[in-house]
């Protein structure tokens, strides 16, 4: 890694400075939504449907309203008066806030109780009586597509089926022909079930409508406060909410991972309640509500075909996917991408031909699809290609590391135009894989595996060499509900040389208060300790699209660098004025301008800042600040190679991860300590769906895995000691050469784990196992193959 440009005291890029945001968290003085208490604040709790599909015959609030402390019961009929009972989704579909006719998933919001405290609100919820008439339930997306299946979206006039969208990308005819003409074709069905982000803090808000000022403030668990503000203004403008009088405050957020991007009905109901009642209303969901009703992730049924020459050269890739979206397409995709960035599925390999198609389907399940650190469906795409690579390796009896090396996009081809339309900015895949293989001792492990196989012991080695695609995105292609996906930074340098920097993103644990300060320190030489970073308050922060899909470093940190450089430009003019030289005679080093050839004649950035208010040239505006709205020229493409070693218990089918080495390349690194932390967390959220987590539904639409009893988050006992290392291949187009890394590990890890388990069983003829790989799944295989204890 390159030597940092700045000293540790300044703390620019490359320094592992300790986090500036830590003190309040360490001292129990964080400010999360549920910590907020306002005078006169009321509490809201939600009545939820036990049925997956049912007509609402009657909602009787009598007993609830008689419960001490209960002030109001809000139903769909209440909201219908304000035309707020339905709302648009981020993918331009519609979803219910509260139903007036029927419910469409188990745990759907049916009514809301407002009470003086949360205990009474809970009592009120228990007292609301709802009469349902069950309707036929559709939980299988393939059955939903069959002719004659019950049509779920009866609210859409003329809708006669359960299709949402058909999307395709690539050269269909060329790929078909390439596959037909190939020497080898491997095919595999791969299902990735529903999972849930389950951040330790659930979702919630405090909606506070000030009747006197006509201003709405919403403290909210949101990763995208500005987008929320605009959505509220558009959706509720007709009831008098005006954007300049809406303030969204995203305070401290206890983990987001994409689950805090959507607008949930609870938020809208709380806002409506506050506007009508004129008091603050708090709504915080409990864990079961969070798991059962909030935006899920995955639920992709994929059929993949990978064609190659006999020597292992990959020639074509075709993937057909049925996407189960629940009852509404509320995925938080950029609007032109109903299947997100799934078209990265050609991965790290040089495919000439590729084609992918995705069909979205309605079912009686909660809406969503994009969440759980997926980079917009990249987890699904990478799972497919990395699994298929191993399937091909097995078919050809070729070592999977060798097969990858053979097919990696060579360094000379970057920037690389993929068969599905992306231009990868930079990459060096062989270096990452070689490093991972060296660290883990790959050859020795293969020898050990051969020895163990002779004794009937089951050990597997799995590789995943992924390419990520993050940093949405260039305005040409990327927007959310029409709002382009730029991001922003506004920096103000104060007279005493300190700075305040505000961004349009919103950290939920990624450390922006530290890393963004380091970006400013890098560009201006002001110590990171003297740069106060602010995010999340729409009254003060410049407009941005928020933090998700690993976009903060690629887009907002870039805005920070560019804004800082604008400041440096002005600083140069002031320095030239103060030093009485021409700008061309000045030399910059972090923190000061000095005269070429006369380094003792210099001005520090602090002196320049002071001068900007006290002694600036005539005709120049006072002050030292800049704002930048950064429109990235391209996405960025972090990558890596992960190697996982597993041992399998032949008696119980349990999979134990013995070692896991992760070599990541996210370009230039702002704070190595923080990057490592992101990777540790991402690996754990990659292992979890591979081995433990699943949300499923029985035939009646009853959710399974709707509490932490059955939705299994790994503890410190299940989680291995992750081993991490790096290569550094900067992004050529990013001002700092940085790529972002927040989701790389969640994307890259699951196929490494699956590949390891399949590798352990491949000599028994096993080609694929769908996640989560539970002990029972493995045991069934062992029993079938006569290899169980």
């Amino acid at each position: 890694m390159a030597t940092p440009l700045t000293t540790p005291e300044v703390g620019g890029m490359g320094h592992s400075i300790k986090r500036k945001e830590d003190p309040r968290f360490l001292r129990g003085k964080g400010n999360y939504v549920d910590d907020i208490q306002l005078p006169g604040m009321l509490h809201m709790d939600i009545v939820r449907s036990p049925y997956a599909h049912a007509k609402i015959k009657k909602i009787d609030s009598t007993k609830a309203l008689q419960t001490p402390g209960v002030l109001a019961v809000i139903t769909g009929a209440t909201l219908e008066q304000y035309k707020l009972h339905w709302m648009p989704t981020l993918m331009s579909d519609t979803q219910m806030v509260l139903p007036t006719e029927k419910v469409m998933y188990q745990a759907q919001e049916v009514a809301a109780v407002i009470a003086t405290d949360r205990y009474k609100a809970a009592d009120g919820v228990a007292a609301v009586e709802v009469e349902y008439e069950p309707l036929p339930v559709v939980v299988d997306p393939f059955k939903a597509l069959e002719p004659g299946a019950p049509v779920l979206r009866t609210d859409k006039p003329g809708k006669s089926d359960n299709r949402i969208f058909h999307w395709e990308v690539g050269d269909k005819a060329g790929t078909d022909s390439a596959i037909r003409g190939s020497e080898v074709v491997v095919r595999q069905k791969i299902y990735i079930p529903r999972i849930h982000v389950a951040s330790i803090e659930t979702c919630g808000c405090v909606a506070d409508f000030d009747r006197v000022r006509g201003k709405l403030t919403v403290y909210m668990t949101t990763q995208a406060p500005h987008a929320i503000r605009t959505v509220f203004a558009l959706v509720a403008g007709h009831v008098g909410l005006s954007e300049e009088k809406i303030r969204i405050v995203s305070p401290d957020i206890g983990g987001g991972f994409g689950g805090k991007v959507p607008v949930y009905p609870g938020y809208v109901i709380a806002v409506a309640a506050s506007v009508v009642i004129g008091k603050p209303v708090k709504w915080v969901e409990d864990r079961m509500e969070n798991l059962q009703a909030d935006s899920f992730a995955r639920d992709y049924h994929m059929e993949a075909e990978l064609a190659a020459k006999k020597d292992g050269t990959m020639t074509a890739l075709r993937i057909k996917t049925v996407a189960d979206h629940g009852y509404a397409d509320a995925a938080a995709n950029p609007s032109k991408f109903p299947a997100g960035l799934f078209s990265i599925c050609t991965g790290s390999y040089d495919f000439q031909k590729a084609f992918a198609e995705v069909d979205g389907v309605y079912t009686n399940k909660p809406p969503g699809g994009i969440a759980y650190r997926c980079s917009f469906r990249v987890t699904e795409a990478v799972h497919a290609i990395e699994r298929m690579t191993d399937v091909l390796a097995q078919e050809l009896k070729m070592d999977p590391a060798q097969l990858r090396m053979k097919n990696f996009i060579p360094a000379a081809k970057f920037p690389y135009k993929s068969a599905l339309g992306w231009e990868y900015d930079s990459g060096n895949y062989p270096a990452a894989l070689k490093k991972a293989m060296d660290i883990i001792g790959y050859d020795a492990l293969r020898k050990e595996q051969a020895e163990k196989r002779k004794k009937g012991e089951l050990m597997g080695i799995g590789i995943s060499s992924f390419t990520e695609i993050v940093g949405a995105g260039p305005s040409k292609h990327f927007d959310i509900l029409g709002i382009k996906m730029f991001d922003s930074c506004e920096i103000r340098v104060h007279p005493t040389g300190k700075a305040t920097a505000r961004f349009g993103t919103k950290s939920q644990g990624q450390g922006h208060e530290t890393t963004y300060a380091q970006v400013v320190a890098e560009e201006l030489g002001i110590p990171a300790a003297h740069v106060e970073v602010e995010e999340g308050d729409t009254d003060t922060a410049p407009y941005g699209l928020g933090t998700y899909a690993s976009r903060s470093t690629p887009v907002a940190a870039a805005a920070g660098a560019v804004a800082a450089r604008k400041i440096r430009e002005k600083a140069k003019k002031i320095a030239a004025y103060l030093l009485e030289v021409g700008e061309q005679d000045l030399v910059w080093e972090p923190g000061k301008f000095s005269v070429k050839g006369a380094p003792q004649k210099s001005k520090t950035i602090q002196e320049i800042a002071f001068a900007a208010y006290t002694n600036h040239p005539q005709g120049m505006e006072a002050g030292l600040e800049a704002v930048d709205y950064y429109d990235p020229p391209n996405l960025t493409f972090p990558f890596g190679s992960y190697i996982c070693v597993v041992d399998i218990d032949r008696g119980t089918g349990e999979v134990k991860i013995r070692r896991f080495v992760a070599v990541d390349d996210c370009g230039n690194i702002i704070n190595p300590m923080i990057v490592d932390g992101q990777i540790h967390g991402g690996l754990t959220m990659g292992m979890a769906p591979a081995l433990y987590e699943e949300i499923s539904y029985d035939e009646s639409g009853n959710v399974q895995g709707g509490s932490f009893m059955d939705y299994l988050l790994p503890t410190a006992m299940e989680t291995p000691k992750w081993e991490t290392d790096k290569t550094v291949t900067p992004s050529p187009h990013h001002p700092l050469g940085a790529k972002g890394v927040g989701e790389s590990a969640t994307v890259g890890a699951p196929p490494a784990v699956v590949n390891a388990v399949v590798d352990a069983l491949s000599h028994l003829g096993v080609k694929h196992i769908d996640i989560p790989i539970t002990p029972e799944k493995v045991w069934k295989i062992l029993k079938e193959k006569g290899a169980a204890e």
Binding site: L26, G509, H680, T715, A716, M717, K721
Partner: protein
Amino acid sequence: MAMHKIKVTVNGEAREAEVESRLLLVHLLREVFRLTGTHIGCDTTHCGACTVLLDGTPVKSCTVLAVQADGREVMTVEGLEKDNKLDPIQEGFYQEHGLQCGYCTPGMMMTGYALLKANASPTEADIRRAISGNLCRCTGYVNIVKSVQHAAAASKSR
């Protein structure tokens, strides 16, 4: 339903309240005493975000009634620091990047703090076992282990 007058010593300070039988200890701390450092993360006693010390023993305060704490001592994350100085466990988490979003952190630190009082030289396995009732989604636990090890080393050299 009867109300109960209770007296609880919280972080060394005598506090009083009149509470319903069903009031959970975590709500007594957060809503009545306004100590919001202790967090709620689930409804099935799994996540441990609510961990506090009751008479020096870590407990999940979401699964204890406020009335059960009558006449007893509770220590929360706010009680770790002394005279504006961080406890070694807090310092360990700071030095070793043991937190990201910070939501599980108070519970983790209370568990770590109690572990080090019972075992001044825990192994990595000891630490992982001790925190197996505290869930984290952000860190992957690697740095949390390092944070507790840091605190153990710092406590010994005092």
